[in-house]
């Protein structure tokens, strides 16, 4: 990884992408880094494709990651991971939920959901880590904590101390949801790369 670490988090509006990027950004702040992040608000969130980018390092300039410099691509949905695959560094890693969400509408002439989505996530030669996030989240007590499971899995690939993640989760989550999410994060962090 370069002087600045770049993470792109992609998924479908409503999956908790902005919360996930907030947790990551706060963890980087807790670890003493300069941080910038960007996200999409407004109409695009209505079930559309959403991406949020987080950058941390000694000094971060652009809030947008230059193409070809993404270190970690976290895909909360596999097709949305595919949409940003070309932006990864050659040595970058893809961490993806096994989830497939078909687009709600298929405009005339548009291709269907790529059935070979897993193969295509590997097609540019990147390391791919697939996580059964919903199943693990259910194990933690709430299927909706899938995004936190994925954060846990991603944390294995980032140079941030575990304590920074714990502090960030406590700062970003409502107290009533904290326990489930702490468990979900832990289960994600314990996953092994395949």
């Amino acid at each position: 990884m370069g002087e600045v670490t770049n993470i792109a988090i992609a998924g479908v509006g409503g999956q908790g992408i902005i919360l996930a990027s907030d947790v990551l950004a706060q963890a980087a702040i807790c670890a003493g880094y300069d941080v910038k992040k960007n996200e999409v608000h407004g109409m695009a969130q209505r079930g559309g494709a959403v991406v949020s980018e987080v950058r941390f390092g000694r000094r971060v300039r652009s809030p947008l990651i230059p193409d070809g410099e993404v270190d970690v691509l976290l895909a909360l949905e596999m097709l949305e991971g595919l949409r940003h695959l070309h932006r990864l560094r050659p040595e970058g890693v893809v961490i993806a939920d096994e989830l497939r969400i078909r687009p709600a509408v298929r405009p005339p002439g548009a291709p269907g959901y790529p059935e070979d989505v897993v193969d295509r996530l590997r097609s540019l030669g990147h390391r791919l880590v697939l996580i059964p996030a919903a199943e693990l989240a259910r194990g933690a007590g709430n299927a909706r904590a899938a995004n936190t499971v994925l954060m846990g899995a991603m944390s294995r690939h980032l140079q941030l101390p575990e304590d920074a993640w714990q502090r960030s989760l406590r700062m970003c989550l409502r107290p009533s949801l904290l326990e489930v999410n702490m468990r979900a994060f832990g289960l994600g962090r314990q996953t092994q790369d395949i």
Binding site: D34, K36, P111, G112, P114
Partner: protein, 591 residues
């Protein structure tokens, strides 16, 4: 600027939140806005400060006028809006420039290059020149906060409103901000001075002279103010830039010499010439229009490139690297053949039900700005025009006048959009004896921007209870005799009311009222399911684009196979009303 060291007073803020913080620290007393992406979060953050009177105004013109009044009474005031909102507020803006201020007055314009959530990507830097007011453009959240404070000082020092111009990337990117203390100010109260505040021609002529003198004074000040700075680097390449473009240049050409402009109107001509003389190659990097480039060329300064301002869309570090030939290898192309995933109306959205009826009636739909604009997409395709806030009524009336027919056209407009700028065109229709059928899609909130309140919700920005504007009484008072309120889930009744309106030779207003489904998640009805025994595979339930209905028909199969995703279905039964086979039934009670 330097990065503040992490501490309790350092927090991660968006550009919008940082502007709100800057206003708070500057002692702002009054803040106004109308919701619009990407500016909405400024007022949402301001309303959290109990020291500030923060309001959602009915539209941006009113917002600016209220802020101006507060300023004339000696209070510092901030008004924020999206770029197109400044078109609505441009009338008071240009004359407020003549009137000037008492307490500082800052106007925030949040532009949307790339049109993430807008109908155009106009470059509002031109407004600073048009209105003859100073303009500031910050590059990150820390600067957004500092520039907001500076803007109030400039406003009071030079007796002028100040334009603080940001873009979507500035508004919605987050970076670390060091918090400061609030400076308390007591407003002086209104002091009578008609030569300054009553813009009759005799007064305005004199004020215009003062405006020109003020701009000259600002241009002189621009040469030495700390908002503009030269960062000396490699003399081989010099870049003039402002706002977020500065960060992109620093990202891809960290060694370049840079003239960073924080004050982009008026421009410091001496500083620009000095910088140009000190570098071999000179570039201007800016988003959208060649606003800086044209003024710099007009100074006689030679640029090392043909016009490079892309004019279209937003910049990125990748595109700036290309413009500066920064020697990065060409980025990879996106993977081919990926299905698009556009935003859609939510499962159970009342708008979908009403738009489905309009599709069935095959009428011309004059549309407006709101979630319902998504109805233009297949498979609904129930919208024929969409221009700007409130345009649906006037456009429908114009079509009616040109064609002599009112039996095949309706105007559809949201509740907040109607209050924003749909009332005047409705008066036009009544006054000029039109027969337009107008449908107000009343979801009791400003949904698209994230559920803000408006005069029709009965709640203020701070969540306090207030008078609730009754839309039906309002339209009757305007002179509409045929007014009906319908639940859009009842498609049969909606259809009958619309058909009656289309037949009538006088105006009709139908208020289709159904609270935004995102506000009432807990009140879900029983989910539906497909009874496969009865399903004939006609595909009618797929014609309204509900995200809870999943088309699982195998490739090449004519007979449709569908499934309703129970977790997404809210039980509106719009699909049930479309199904002629009676195959859509209630899920058995799971509880």
């Amino acid at each position: 600027m330097t990065i503040p060291a992490p501490s309790a007073t350092c927090v991660l803020l968006s550009g919008d939140e940082a502007i709100a913080r800057g206003a708070f620290e500057a002692g702002v007393l009054v803040a106004t806005s109308y919701p619009g992406t990407p500016a909405t979060e400024i007022l949402e953050a301001l309303v959290q400060y109990p020291e500030i009177e923060a309001e959602w105004s009915p539209n941006e013109k009113v917002a600016l006028e209220v802020a101006l009044g507060a300023s004339l009474a000696g209070a510092r005031a901030l008004v924020s809006m999206k770029h197109v909102g400044l078109n609505v507020a441009s009338d008071p803006l240009v004359t407020a420039s003549y009137v000037g201020v008492r307490g500082g007055l800052v106007v925030v314009s949040a532009d949307d290059p790339g049109m993430f959530s807008s109908q155009n990507e106009q470059d509002n830097r031109h407004y600073a020149r048009l209105a003859k007011i100073p303009m500031l453009e910050p590059c990150d959240s820390q600067e957004a906060k500092e520039f907001t404070r500076s803007a109030f000082e400039i406003s009071e020092r030079f007796d002028t409103p100040v334009l603080l111009r940001i873009t979507t990337r500035m508004a919605h990117s987050k970076s670390i901000v060091e918090l400061g203390e609030r400076m308390e100010r007591t407003p002086t109260g209104f002091v009578r001075d008609v030569a300054k505040t009553v813009m009759v021609p005799g007064h305005a002529r004199r004020r215009h002279e003062l405006v020109e003198a003020r701009m000259n004074a600002l241009a002189e000040w621009a040469e030495s103010c700390s908002l503009n700075r030269i960062e000396e680097g490699d003399r081989g390449i010099g870049v003039i830039c402002s706002g977020i473009a500065y960060e992109y240049v620093k990202e891809v050409q960290p060694k370049a010499s840079i003239l960073k402009l924080g004050l982009t109107h008026p421009l410091p001509s001496g500083l620009i010439r000095e910088f140009a003389e000190g570098v071999d190659r000179l570039h201007v990097i800016e988003e959208l229009d060649p606003y800086l480039e044209e003024q710099i060329r007009a100074l006689g300064v030679r640029l090392s490139h043909e016009p490079v301002s892309p004019r279209l869309g937003e910049l990125s570090p990748t595109s700036v690297a290309r413009l500066l030939e920064a020697g990065k290898s060409a980025p990879r192309a996106p993977l081919p053949d990926l299905p698009p995933r556009p935003p859609v109306l939510c499962a159970g959205c009342g708008h979908r039900a009403l738009l489905t009826v309009l599709k069935q009636l095959k009428v011309f739909v004059s549309g407006d700005i709101g979630c319902y604009t998504l109805g233009v997409q297949p498979p609904l395709e129930a919208m024929d025009t969409c221009v700007c806030m409130g345009a649906s009524l006037g456009v429908a009336f114009g079509v009616e006048k040109a064609t002599g027919r009112s039996d095949n056209i309706v105007a559809v407009i949201g509740d907040s959009t109607f209050i924003h700028s749909g009332i005047a065109p409705l008066m036009d229709i009544v006054y000029n004896r039109g027969a337009t059928t107008v449908i107000i899609l009343d979801n009791e909130t400003v949904a698209m921007t994230g559920h803000q309140d408006h005069p029709g919700t009965g709640r203020t920005a701070a969540g306090e209870s207030t008078h609730r504007l009754p839309l039906d009484e309002l339209v009757r008072a305007i002179g509409v005799r045929h007014v009906a309120v319908v639940d859009p889930y009842d498609m049969k009744q909606s259809k009958e009311l619309i058909q009656a309106g289309l037949r009538r030779s006088e105006p009709t207003v139908i208020i289709a009222r159904r609270r935004c489904v995102l506000l009432d998640r807990e009140e879900r009805r029983r989910a539906r399911r497909i009874d496969v025994e009865r399903c004939v595979g006609c595909g009618q339930c797929l014609t309204h684009g509900c995200p809870a209905i999943f088309d699982k028909t195998p490739e090449g199969e004519k007979k449709k196979q569908v499934e309703i995703i129970a977790q997404l279905c809210v039980g509106c039964n719009v699909c049930g009303q479309l199904c002629s086979a009676g195959a859509i039934v209630e899920e058995p009670d799971s509880g």
